[in-house]
């Protein structure tokens, strides 16, 4: 089976990955009995988005919003409760083990924790060759040592590093090893689950640049998950903002950051102080939200943000607001900010 070459042309509007009404509910059982359920945590509750070849979709939200669960279900590390995810028209959630194996070859992942994601007992060479051990037809064994070293150079490490063990590297370097492993099979989609949040600022920038460079060169589409708004903005073409298991706003990076329409997006953006060091800098006005994100086991009815929203009215407690599109900029709110384009 050949890996398709993905193109980056914007005219190619056919999505490579289309997620529809994805839901993942965790049942909390009470200790001893298997049957009794004490509650259901709706970690992800009806998330839909699409990803076009070569683009980056940012998925941003605070802890507990379900962004990492989305990643884990797309990778089938967790089974979904309902919904579908079409990868080239093929539903990931319904794929048989053989189909899944071929999907995974084209859909790869970078994890948050560069310390835990590499097996400490394997050399870098073994780690990066693992994809070919699993998919032996991808690359003949004789070519693997050279390819490992080429990949190491591609991600900014040196050829000699192949013989070392992960503990000999810094966090940023380990993340590069993780990236080398993820791109070893020439995937079309890379799911980046908080790939830089465990790194120091100066190293973060290196990895961000590397990821952008790889995208330019190989045309891989990214689902870029992070809690850091500025990192997501820097990386993404389009951005989806999540709150308590739902997408509240989705649009281009420009639309979401410059003209946020959902009150939560506005608050989130204003929470981060700007890097402005002029003398009058203290005048930064932020919207300070009250309280914290409610527990996903007992979310508010209707719009889930209403318990912290300054615009909330009675209607918000009823039916949950649907995601409504205006110029490819969707917002799930009954009282959104005006769209600048009308």
């Amino acid at each position: 089976m050949m890996v398709e070459n993905s193109s980056i042309s914007p005219a190619d509007d056919q999505p490579i990955l289309e997620v529809r009404e994805l839901a993942k509910h965790f049942e909390i059982g009470s200790g001893l009995s298997f049957k009794r359920k004490t509650g259901v945590v709706k970690a992800v509750d009806g998330v839909s988005f699409s990803l076009r070849p070569g683009e980056t979709l940012g998925l941003v939200g605070e802890s507990g919003c379900g962004k990492s669960t989305v990643a884990r279900t797309l990778l089938r590390l967790e089974e979904t409760t309902s919904g579908s995810a079409l990868f080239h028209g093929e539903d990931i959630f319904k794929a048989t083990p053989q189909e899944l194996k071929s999907i995974r070859r084209r859909l790869q992942v970078i994890f948050q924790d560069p310390y835990a994601s590499l097996n400490p007992r394997m050399t870098v060479e073994e780690i990066i060759s693992e994809p070919w051990v699993i998919h032996p037809d991808a690359l003949p064994a004789s070519e693997r040592p050279d390819k490992v070293r080429a990949l190491l150079e591609n991600v900014g490490l040196r050829r000699e590093h192949a013989e070392r063990y992960p503990h000999e590297f810094s966090g940023g370097q380990r993340q590069r090893i993780g990236i080398a492993r993820a791109i070893a099979l020439d995937p079309e989609v890379l799911i980046c689950d908080e790939p830089v949040s465990a790194l120091d600022v100066s190293v973060q920038a290196q990895v961000i640049n590397l990821l952008m460079e790889i995208q330019e060169r190989l045309g891989i589409a990214y689902v870029f998950i992070a809690h850091d708004l500025s990192v997501v903005r820097h990386m993404s073409h389009r951005v989806a903002v999540m709150y308590l298991g739902r997408i509240v706003e989705i649009g281009t990076e420009e639309q979401v950051y410059n003209h946020p329409r959902h009150p939560y997006t506005k608050a989130l953006l204003s929470a981060e102080a700007p890097l402005d060091f002029s003398k009058d800098r203290k005048k930064h006005q932020r919207i300070i939200l009250e309280g914290e994100v409610p527990s996903p086991s007992n979310p508010p009815s209707g719009c889930r943000f209403r318990s912290r929203c300054w615009k909330a009215q009675e209607v918000c407690a009823g039916e949950a607001p649907p995601l409504e599109y205006v110029n490819n900029h969707a917002v799930a709110c009954y009282f959104p900010e005006d769209s600048p384009a009308g």
């Binding site: 590390l77 071929s102 995974r104 992942v109 835990a116 097996n119 394997m122 693992e130 070392r164």
Partner: protein, 304 residues
């Protein structure tokens, strides 16, 4: 890459394992002792078989330390005047055959079941764990007695029984480790690459579990030897004139007040075997762990 990083990652050659072993006095002594035991195991009965069964009535319960009856009597003589040294050497074959095979099978079977219980599924995991509970709650000696009365008391049956009674420990430890390792991110990564269960068990889980099991194995070794001696004492294990160290301890117990060396030397042999095994398995554990290996590679030049 910058020069700083080249400096930070100092190029160092991997020290070969035998050189590391030579540097660690305890591990080296343990390895030498085990080699000696293995030599006894291979050649003992052929070289000393005769000496071990020759009766010398003048050397009955001869205390150790004298050479007037020849160097074979250096460790003393037993109640029938046989050479202790020769008997110890000859007994090594039976002892090691039974104890090693039993712990080995217990480890393989326990480890295998533990991996299934920890990795494959909840349902089968529960079944396996209840099976382990039953095995463990049944007094192991009683289990052995029952089985060996029903079956023939033979070396094979003895090994099977001993292996079964030790199995739950390996099973539990393996399962506990597997449950922990399977949650690690690198296992997720292998999963996301499309790795099969078998692939993950083999490449990621076994290498972490194996050193732990090996350490337990060495401790278990002495327990098995003593269990075997109890069974032999009850007449359902190894039968004289065949000998094992455990049996020698059991026989020597009757003479403890007159001739302590009858029980002491075989006991010492068991202890040294266990201790050496333990030291060596700990050393192996460190050598096989890339993050720990430096502890052995550190040159011993002063303290700081």
């Amino acid at each position: 890459m910058t020069t700083a990083e080249q400096e930070a990652l100092i190029i160092r050659r991997k020290t070969p394992w035998w050189s590391l072993l030579a540097r660690d006095k305890f591990a080296l002594a343990a390895a030498l002792w085990l080699t000696l035991m293995f030599a006894c195991f291979l050649l003992g009965p052929e070289l000393f078989g005769k000496a071990a069964t020759t009766l010398n009535l003048r050397a009955r319960n001869l205390p150790p330390g004298s050479t007037e009856h020849g160097w074979l009597m250096f460790l003393g003589g037993d109640a029938l005047g046989r050479s202790m040294l020769a008997r110890l050497v000859v007994a090594s074959r039976n002892t090691l055959t039974i104890a090693l095979t039993a712990v080995f099978f217990a480890m393989i079977a326990g480890g295998f079941l533990g991996m299934i219980a920890g990795y494959v599924g909840r349902g089968i995991g529960h079944v396996i764990m209840r099976f382990a509970d039953v095995l463990q709650s049944f007094p192991s000696l009683l289990l052995a007695v029952v089985v060996l009365y029903v079956l023939e008391p033979s070396v094979t049956n003895l090994i099977i029984v001993l292996a079964i009674t030790r199995l739950p420990i390996y099973l539990r430890v393996t399962r506990a480790e597997v449950l922990e390792i399977r949650e690690r991110v690198f296992v997720d990564a292998a999963n996301a690459l499309g790795g099969s269960r078998y692939h993950i068990l083999r490449r990621h889980i076994t290498p972490v579990v194996a050193p732990t099991l090996l350490t337990i194995l060495t401790v278990d070794f002495s327990i098995i030897m003593l269990a075997e001696s109890s069974l032999s004492f009850l007449g359902i294990g190894i039968q004289p004139p065949e000998i094992t160290w455990g049996l020698m301890v059991a026989q020597g117990r009757n003479y403890l007040s007159q001739a302590w060396w009858l029980a002491f030397f075989p006991g010492l042999a068991i202890m040294l075997a266990t201790l050496s095994g333990n030291i060596l398995s700990n050393w192996l554990r460190v050598v096989s762990d890339p993050e720990q290996r430096w502890r052995l590679e550190k040159p011993r030049t002063g303290d700081e």
